[in-house]
Symmetry: C2
Subunit: 308 residues, 2 copies
Amino acid sequence: MREIVIGGAQMGAIQKADTREAVVDRMIVLLDQAKAAGCDLVVYPELALTTFFPRWFIDNQSEVDFWFENEMPNAATAPLFAAAKKAQIAISFGYAERTQDGHYYNTSVLTDRDANIIGTYRKVHLPGHSEYDPERSFQHLEKRYFEPGNLGFPVWKNLNARMGMCICNDRRWPEVYREMGLQGVELVMLGYNTPTVNSQLSDEGIEQRLYHSELSMTAGAYQNATWVVGIAKAGLEDGHPLMAGSIIVDPNGYVVARASSEVDELVVHACDMDACTFGKTTIFDFGRHRRIEHYQRIGTQAGVVIND
Amino acid sequence: MREIVIGGAQMGAIQKADTREAVVDRMIVLLDQAKAAGCDLVVYPELALTTFFPRWFIDNQSEVDFWFENEMPNAATAPLFAAAKKAQIAISFGYAERTQDGHYYNTSVLTDRDANIIGTYRKVHLPGHSEYDPERSFQHLEKRYFEPGNLGFPVWKNLNARMGMCICNDRRWPEVYREMGLQGVELVMLGYNTPTVNSQLSDEGIEQRLYHSELSMTAGAYQNATWVVGIAKAGLEDGHPLMAGSIIVDPNGYVVARASSEVDELVVHACDMDACTFGKTTIFDFGRHRRIEHYQRIGTQAGVVIND
């Protein structure tokens, strides 16, 4: 038994006008709840410090830069790091990263119990588009504001378990879980900001969008015998709804904990990392069963090639 | 609208003592039902012509050879091919294949409306083990009787759609759907013989086994925007239960038709191949979103490599 008590810290809406300081205060309230619940690790959403700004078209680069952090921790987030260290709780959260040499990423970090950053992930699968699209009901400009992540899908040892991260749209891609599965991952953490409405298919409906989100995470968990923690930023941001549906999924692909609101809410589950062993040593014993000679398109061909 | 009316021909148990001829008669009854229902294509299970013989340990090679077909079609299956041609219905079914040069595969074939075999698939992911295992509640000797398939995951144009096949345990591996997805597949057909009991975890239960089967197929359908038809051989074969749960899944990952029995049963759905287009051109537009530079472990590393 290697139990990690995980707190999934779903966050409600963050308005454009909300300051980082006000948001960090909310994150610390959730951390305090996690401490009271005996958590070892707290997972916050994607872009946890700000509103989901890629829904807005911004032409002026200095206005874009306002949404990015130039270092981490920084003045606004220092209280969160201090509180996490004091509570001896590891944390993971997402933010918009501007590097010293001027690159822009949709990033998440992972700390140890002393609030040292031991892992950085940069979102690989950027959804949406890069130019203003008049045909959409709202914009989704992640391809404009971010570069695709350049760090792959690393796995780190933390709290005596193997942990990896991905972000939002990454969760729909089986390659993401598999790359980490091939490094023995036992816990995949991810945050998301998923609009309740499909900007290209307005009648899709929230039930279908929640189903696709859960389907992707439960399949990724089962097929790699890993825990998956998927945490939403939810609610109405300046009139734009984000879906909730934060879940913790066990290595059998079952949802074992689920948020019930669209506001700040802590979801807690005691996760036994040893529960990964059965799947990893039987049906998904990769070394015994995988046949890489037949997977050559996956890593060499990005798009569809028709051979009619 | 490119509609193909698909009949999923679930089959009940086949006992060791049942002849190929008796089984083919049952397959023709299902074909007749499909004709009456207006089907264009009928999908039968894995190893449709015989009992699931890999549950038995057989030492004598001539006894093993009894379960294999040396050519296809052959005398026993000729009436099925003739009936399919007369009905102008394309078919797909599985059987144990012994090649002219002495190789053994778990195979499925696909025909056009004139019963010409236009596609052959050989199962890549063989589950189970190769030697007698006294610790299992029953045997699963696919790794003993078959070689891993050597044809990859081809996609063929048939009935004006792009079709591929996989078999049973293949359906749990996301690489399988993705290899076909990268060739533009619109319909994945598969048959299975899945024991109701996990031979290494007797308290797993049929509900969990049905869930994992459906989870794998619905995720594969959604993540590649393809129809998936998964058809069981079900029921009690010489005392050994096989689970049922045959389903037809749409390109959104929803089950649209489902078998309700554990016996011979035809499940019918009119499948519009154009329903694949939305997913393939938006969220799963592979050429726009996939980042193959970060998928390099998948095709180069079979087993887990720990980097602690």
